[in-house]
C-alpha cells in the first residue's frame, strides 16, 4: 500500500473536528474500539485501522465529507458491508473510511417500470424480499447476498449462480447517483434502458470504489419464474462433467444456474451439511432450469439424457422445492465447508475458457501436491468462473505466504489458458500485482487515465487495482513530433 502520509495523520484531530461539524457525533468514529470492526473486509489476512470512519445519512452528507477531504488532500475508502474478497475496502491509515450502514432504505419499488430504487447500504437480498410481494425479484445473487450491500455489488460488478442466464450486476443496473471525490453529485442513467452519452454507468460498475461513491442505485427487477427445478449429476471424472456442460450449451440450453464441484469440494460439503451428494463420483454438476412448467420439465429430461450420454453415474432431478433447495445446500455452503476442513481457507476467483477445465483442474491438483496445500474446487461451470478454495493454517509460519504464492500460480494459469484474473471478486489489493500478467503497461496506463478523469488527485481508494501509481499529469503527457513529414507509407485509398 502507498506509504501513509505523516502530515495527514498529524492533522487527524482537526479533521475529526471538521467532520463533526458536518455530521452528528455518532456518525464520526475515531476511537480504536469503534474503528476495529472496519479494519478489514472478507480478505481478512490484510488489516489496517482506518484513520477515521464516517457514516453519512444522506447524499448531501457524503458530498460534504468528500469535498472536505478533497480540500484537505485526505484519501477516502468507500465501504459497504465489508464482505469483499479482494481487499477493496481495506482501510488506509491516513484515510477516511466512508461506510453506508445508515444509507439502508429501499426508496421505491416501481412495478410499472420494473425497477427498484435503493440506497447503497441495502443488502442484496433485501431488494428481492421487498419486490417479492409484487411477484418480482432482483436477479444477481452472490452467495453473500444476505449481507453484501448493493453499493458493494455495483463496485465489484458481483455475480451469482443465476448470472449465467440473467447477467451480472452490470446487466441489471439502470442508474446510479454518485458523488465524485470533489463532492460533485452526478446522476448516471435512470429508469430508462440506455444511458445518454458515454456509458459512464458501465465503467463505474466494477470500478471497485476508485471512480466515485455510489449513493443511490436503480436496478431492474424481474418477474419471478413460474417454476424452477434442479438436477444433481454425478460423473466419474472431471472431463466428462466438463463435456456435459458443453453438451448442454450445444443443445441451445442456457440453464438458470450450472455449477460444478470437484471431489474434495463434494466431500467437504457433504460432511458439513449432508446435502445427499454422491460420494463415489469425481465431480458433480448442479443444473437449475427455470421458466414455464412445460419448458422446465422438457429440459430436465433433456439434460438428464445429455448427462447419461456424457457418462453420468448419478442423475437425480428435483421433484419438490425442498429437494431443489437441498441440491443447492452443499454448493451454497461450500465456503463454510472449506472453513470447517482447515483453520483457514483462501478463495480464488479466475475465469477460464470452459473447454480448458479438465487440464486446469489437473494442474491445480499438481500445484496442490507441490505446495502441500489441499484444494477444493467449486466452479460456475456455465461461464467458466473457477473458485479454487485453498485450505491452510495461518498459525504455521509462512503458510499464508505459501498459500498466496500458490494462489498466484493458479491465477497465472487462468491467464495462460486464455482466461482472466478475476471473474467476480475484483482485483483490489489481492490481485493488484498480477495485473501485469494480463495487461501491458500501455493497457494499464489507459485505464488509469480513466481514473484521472474521475479523480485527478487520486484520493479515492488509492492503492487498489493498479500495481503502479502514476501521477495524472504524467499520464496526460503526449509526445508529439509536430511538423514532421514522417509516415510516408500510410496506406491511402
Amino acid at each position: 500500500m502507498p506509504e501513509p502520509d505523516a502530515g495527514v495523520i498529524s492533522q487527524r484531530q482537526s479533521l475529526v473536528a471538521a467532520l463533526r461539524k458536518l455530521l452528528p457525533e455518532y456518525c464520526v468514529i475515531d476511537d480504536e474500539r469503534g474503528l476495529r470492526p472496519f479494519e478489514c473486509d472478507g480478505l481478512s489476512a490484510y488489516r489496517s485501522l482506518p484513520m477515521v470512519v464516517v457514516l453519512p445519512r444522506d447524499t448531501r452528507e457524503v458530498s460534504r465529507v468528500l469535498a472536505l477531504c478533497h480540500e484537505r488532500g485526505v484519501k477516502i475508502v468507500p465501504r459497504g458491508a465489508g464482505t469483499g474478497l479482494s481487499g477493496g475496502a481495506l482501510p488506509l491509515a491516513d484515510g477516511v473510511t466512508v461506510g453506508f450502514g445508515k444509507l439502508n432504505r429501499i426508496l421505491e419499488i416501481d412495478t410499472a417500470n420494473r425497477c427498484a430504487i435503493v440506497q447503497p447500504g441495502v443488502a442484496n437480498l433485501a431488494i428481492s424480499t421487498a419486490a417479492s410481494p409484487y411477484g418480482f425479484y432482483y436477479a444477481p445473487d452472490p452467495s453473500s447476498q444476505l449481507a453484501c450491500s448493493i453499493g458493494g455489488n455495483v463496485a465489484e460488478n458481483s455475480g451469482g449462480v443465476h448470472c449465467l442466464k440473467y447477467g451480472l450486476t452490470t446487466n441489471n443496473l439502470l442508474g446510479v447517483e454518485m458523488v465524485l471525490m470533489d463532492g460533485e453529485v452526478l446522476r448516471l442513467g435512470g429508469k430508462q434502458f440506455d444511458a445518454e452519452g458515454y456509458d459512464l454507468l458501465g465503467v463505474v460498475t466494477g470500478s471497485e470504489g476508485l471512480l466515485g461513491v455510489v449513493t443511490e442505485v436503480t436496478v431492474r427487477i424481474l418477474p419471478k419464474p413460474s417454476t424452477a427445478r434442479a438436477l444433481l449429476l454425478g460423473f466419474p471424472d472431471n472431463a466428462s462433467a466438463g463435456a456435459c456442460v458443453g453438451e448442454i450449451i450445444a443443445a441451445g440450453i442456457i440453464p438458470a444456474g450450472l455449477e460444478m464441484m470437484d471431489k474434495p469440494a463434494i466431500h467437504a460439503a457433504e460432511a458439513f451439511c449432508q446435502a445427499g451428494y454422491p460420494l463415489d463420483v469425481e465431480a458433480i454438476l448442479i443444473c437449475e432450469l427455470d421458466g414455464p412448467e412445460v419448458e422446465v420439465d422438457e429440459l430436465v429430461a433433456l439434460v438428464g439424457d445429455l448427462a447419461r450420454k456424457s457418462g453420468a453415474t448419478t442423475i437425480r432431478s428435483s421433484t419438490s422445492e425442498e429437494e431443489r433447495e437441498r441440491f443447492w445446500l452443499g454448493r451454497k455452503s461450500a465456503f463454510g465447508a472449506a472453513g470447517r476442513m482447515a483453520p483457514d481457507y483462501y478463495v480464488m476467483d479466475g475465469t477460464i475458457p470452459r473447454a480448458r477445465l479438465p487440464e486446469v483442474l489437473t494442474r491445480i491438483g499438481e500445484l496442490s501436491r507441490e505446495y502441500d496445500l489441499p484444494v477444493a474446487n467449486v466452479f460456475h461451470a456455465g461461464d467458466g468462473n473457477l473458485h479454487p478454495l485453498i485450505m491452510y493454517d495461518s498459525s504455521i509460519p509462512g503458510a499464508l505466504q505459501r498459500t498466496e504464492e500458490m494462489g498466484s500460480e493458479i491465477l497465472k494459469l487462468c491467464v495462460e489458458v486464455g482466461g482472466v484474473l478475476t471473474g467476480e471478486h475484483g482485483v483490489g489489493v489481492e490481485k493488484r500485482d498480477l495485473m501485469g500478467t494480463m495487461f501491458t503497461e500501455d493497457d494499464l496506463k489507459q485505464q488509469q487515465r480513466i481514473k484521472c478523469a474521475f479523480d485527478p488527485d487520486q484520493l479515492l481508494n488509492p492503492g487498489k487495482v493498479f500495481p503502479t501509481l502514476h501521477r495524472c499529469a504524467e499520464l496526460g503527457q503526449m509526445h508529439v513530433h509536430r511538423g514532421e513529414t514522417a509516415f510516408p507509407d500510410l496506406p491511402r485509398f
Partner: protein, 405 residues
C-alpha cells in the same frame, strides 16, 4: 481533396493516429459507413477507413464467444452464428435504409453506437454483450481491455465506455462478443386497435408476467400500415405486438398464456416464426420511417411513460410514432417543425425523465441542433475529461457527439 487513410493492421492504425496528431488532421472514422450520417457532422481533414479489419478471428460456439475484426459485416457474423444455431442476442439493427446510405453495417459499428434491437428488454443492449477489445487510442497507442471469457471484472470495463462512444475515444480493431443459442421457435401475439396509453398497459402486463417476453412494441395505425406482414398492414388499426421465443412447447404454452392475459385489451391474432421474423426486423430497423427522410428522434424513457412522452410531443408538433421496448423506446418522425421538433422533444424527455437523440436529419440541422441529449454541466465536464483521457488532441471523430468532444 481530403486525405483518405486505410491502414491494414493495428500498427498502421497507430501510425495513422500519430500522423493525425502531428499534423493536426482530425479524422472521420468509418467502417461500413452505414451510419455515417448519424451524429453531428464531423469537421475532419481526413477519413480513416477501417475496412481492412474484416473477418472472424475465432469463434467458439461452445464457449459462447466470438472474436472478429471490428469492421466485419454484421451479415458475416450473423451467417456464421446462424450456422451454429446461435445469434447476437442484442439484435443489432441495420439503419442503412433508414439513414438512406448504402453502407454495410459492421460489428464494430453496432458496438460503437450501442445499437440494440427489440430484444434489448430481455437480453440486454450491445454493451452487455461486448466482452473484449483491442484498440488504438487517440494518443496513437495500442491497448486492450476486457477478455475472451463471459465473466470478467479484471480492471475497468472499458468495453462499456467504448460502446456508445461513436468512435470518439478509440479506434477498435478487434472485438470479442458474447453469443447465445438462437431460439427454435418464435410466436408473436398481436393486439389490435389500442390507443397508446392502453397499449403501454397491455405491453406492461406482458412484460410484468413470467412469460419471458422478448419483444414488446406498439405501432399506431399509420405505422402498422407500412408493414410487409399482411396481418399487421391489413389491420386498419393500431397493432401492439408481444414476442416469445425458445423451445417449441414452451413457446406454445407462453403464447397461450399471453393470449389469455391480453384478451381483455382487444382483438388478438398470432404470428408464426416467419411473419414474426419479418415484423421484428421492421421494428428493429424502424422501416416504417425509411420512406420519408424527415427528422427522426429516438427517445429513451421509463417504459410506463412512453405514451405520455409521445402525447406531449404530438400536442406541439405533427409527429408519427413507433414504440418499442414496452414503451421505453419511442421513435418519433417530426414533420414541418422549424426546429425539427427539438423543443417539444426535449421538453417531453425532461418531463418523464429520459433523453432523446436526433437520429436522422439533414446535415445543417444536425450541425445546428443538439443531436445527443444536452448534458448537465457536471456530466459534460466529465465527458470532456474522458475524451481527453483517450484523445487529448481531439483527432477521433471530433464533435460527432458534442461540440468540443
Amino acid at each position: 481533396m481530403a486525405d483518405s487513410l486505410a491502414p491494414r493492421d493495428a500498427d498502421g492504425l497507430a501510425d495513422a493516429v500519430r500522423w493525425a496528431v502531428a499534423g493536426e488532421h482530425p479524422l472521420e472514422v468509418i467502417a461500413g459507413g452505414s451510419k455515417r450520417d448519424f451524429g453531428r457532422p464531423v469537421q475532419s481533414a481526413a477519413t480513416l477507413s477501417l475496412t481492412a479489419f474484416d473477418g472472424i478471428v475465432d469463434y467458439q460456439p461452445s464457449e459462447l464467444v466470438l472474436t472478429a475484426k471490428a469492421a466485419t459485416p454484421l451479415a458475416t457474423i450473423e451467417a456464421a452464428t446462424a450456422a451454429e444455431r446461435q445469434m447476437l442476442a442484442f439484435e443489432p439493427a441495420d439503419y442503412a435504409p433508414l439513414l438512406g446510405t448504402d453502407g454495410e453495417a459492421t460489428l464494430g459499428g453496432a458496438l460503437a453506437c450501442n445499437l440494440s434491437g427489440p430484444r434489448r428488454i430481455k437480453a440486454g443492449a450491445a454493451r452487455d454483450h461486448f466482452l473484449g477489445v483491442h484498440a488504438v487510442s487517440g494518443r496513437g497507442e495500442r491497448f486492450k481491455a476486457g477478455g475472451r471469457v463471459v465473466k470478467n471484472v479484471t480492471g475497468y470495463d472499458v468495453c462499456k465506455l467504448l460502446s456508445g462512444s461513436y468512435g470518439t475515444l478509440a479506434l477498435m480493431h478487434e472485438v470479442t462478443v458474447k453469443v447465445l443459442p438462437a431460439p427454435e421457435r418464435t410466436r408473436t401475439v398481436l393486439v389490435f386497435g389500442l390507443e397508446p396509453v392502453d397499449a403501454m398497459e397491455a405491453l406492461g402486463a406482458a412484460l410484468g408476467s413470467a412469460h419471458e417476453v422478448s419483444g414488446a412494441a406498439h405501432m399506431p395505425a399509420e405505422v402498422a400500415a407500412c408493414s410487409a406482414v399482411s396481418y399487421v398492414a391489413g389491420a386498419g388499426a393500431s397493432v401492439s405486438a408481444v414476442r416469445v421465443e425458445g423451445f417449441p412447447a414452451s413457446v406454445e404454452a407462453r403464447c397461450g398464456a399471453l393470449r389469455e392475459l391480453l384478451g381483455r385489451f382487444g382483438a388478438l391474432e398470432e404470428l408464426h416464426s416467419k411473419n414474426s421474423a419479418t415484423l421484428w426486423r421492421e421494428i428493429r430497423d424502424v422501416r416504417a420511417f425509411a420512406e420519408d427522410n424527415g427528422p427522426l428522434w429516438r427517445l429513451s424513457v421509463p417504459p410506463a411513460s412512453g405514451a405520455a412522452a409521445a402525447a406531449r410531443i404530438a400536442d406541439a408538433a405533427d409527429a408519427r410514432t413507433l414504440f418499442d421496448w414496452g414503451g421505453g423506446l419511442v421513435w418519433l418522425g417530426v414533420n414541418g417543425a422549424e426546429d425539427a421538433g427539438e423543443a417539444a422533444v426535449r421538453d417531453a424527455a425532461a418531463a418523464v425523465g429520459g433523453h432523446a437523440t436526433l437520429v436522422r436529419a439533414d446535415a445543417p440541422t444536425r450541425a445546428a441542433r443538439a443531436v445527443f441529449q444536452p448534458q448537465t454541466a457536471g456530466l459534460a465536464a466529465l465527458t470532456e475529461r474522458l475524451k481527453r483521457a483517450f484523445d487529448p488532441a481531439g483527432v477521433l471523430n471530433p464533435g460527432r457527439m458534442y461540440a468540443g468532444v
